[in-house]
Symmetry: C2
Subunit: 143 residues, 2 copies
DNA sequence: AGTAAAATATGATAAAAATCACATTTAAGA
DNA sequence: TCTTAAATGTGATTTTTATCATATTTTACT
């Protein structure tokens, strides 16, 4: 459903959501290890996310990555779209350009309602929600 | 969600479900073109499906690919699993091995019910159903 | 100012997925 | 039985994705 890059991005951002703050920056190597992602690969992804202002960073000693309270408002969907591009989740199961509810492909009706529901949730769920969920012990931080 | 190979496989098999029969075999090139898939690529996929007995084939002049009436009973899920392997649809969104409903990852609850519902449908829908749907004009054959 | 510790930029390599090519096998029909 | 038309088997090439490496820039601290 998602590319590895997106999965890694979500894991990293969730890690930051739980463990970082403006006063508590985290270095690449201290993110890569607990979320179980190759260091160089996650570095590239974090840089891209930083450029898009989904996460924050500072260089130099005592530097690292972190989330501001504004950035805790980021929707999960925004991360997915930033890394994988907008189409991936919106495209037809069979990748038919012309497929839509008026002119549905043969699998359309099997998934349409559910896919919509999932997309809606990804659009309305923000990092703060997931963080709360984790801190309440209702879900686990990924590794 | 699916690999290109699986999308192509489904398109090809649907094409056969609508246009072929034991008396009406179809050559690779006459499948590849209408479903808009590279000829050599779909050839390889059709061979694999044939070996797994999801479709039938005969060599030589007047040969080609076709479905028997038994093969019209094939579930959509079987095609997906044959091409992409079993895990793809069952794995966690973040590909965490340990993720399950007792120990859910942070995205689990956003998609679990819907993903299950979709999987159920893919498991119970057979080619004959989709063929009927198409022939009634309720969905389109892909291209 | 100088040094060291961090991210950043850029590009190289490896692995996987998609695509292409062709020689081999099988079966129909003359 | 010969020729031809089809699938089959095998592998090569290309493209995309994932991963690794390293030189550069920035910033804190001495």
């Amino acid at each position: 459903m998602f590319s590895n890059s997106t999965k890694y991005a979500i894991k990293a951002v969730l890690y930051l959501a739980v463990h970082s703050s403006e006063e508590q920056k985290i270095m690449i190597k201290d993110i890569a290890e607990p979320i179980n992602v190759p260091k160089h690969y996650i570095a590239k992804i974090l840089q891209a996310l930083s450029k898009k202002d989904i996460i924050s960073s500072t260089k130099g000693p005592k530097g690292g990555f972190y989330l501001t309270s504004d950035q805790l408002q980021t929707k999960v969907m925004q991360i997915i779209e930033t890394v994988d591009g907008e189409e991936r989740l919106n495209s037809c199961l069979l990748s038919l350009e012309k497929c839509n509810s008026d002119n549905p492909c043969s699998l359309h009706h099997l998934v349409f309602d559910e896919k919509n529901k999932i997309n809606e949730r990804l659009k309305m769920t923000i990092l703060k929600d997931l963080r709360q969920h984790i801190m309440r012990g209702e879900s686990i931080l990924p590794l």
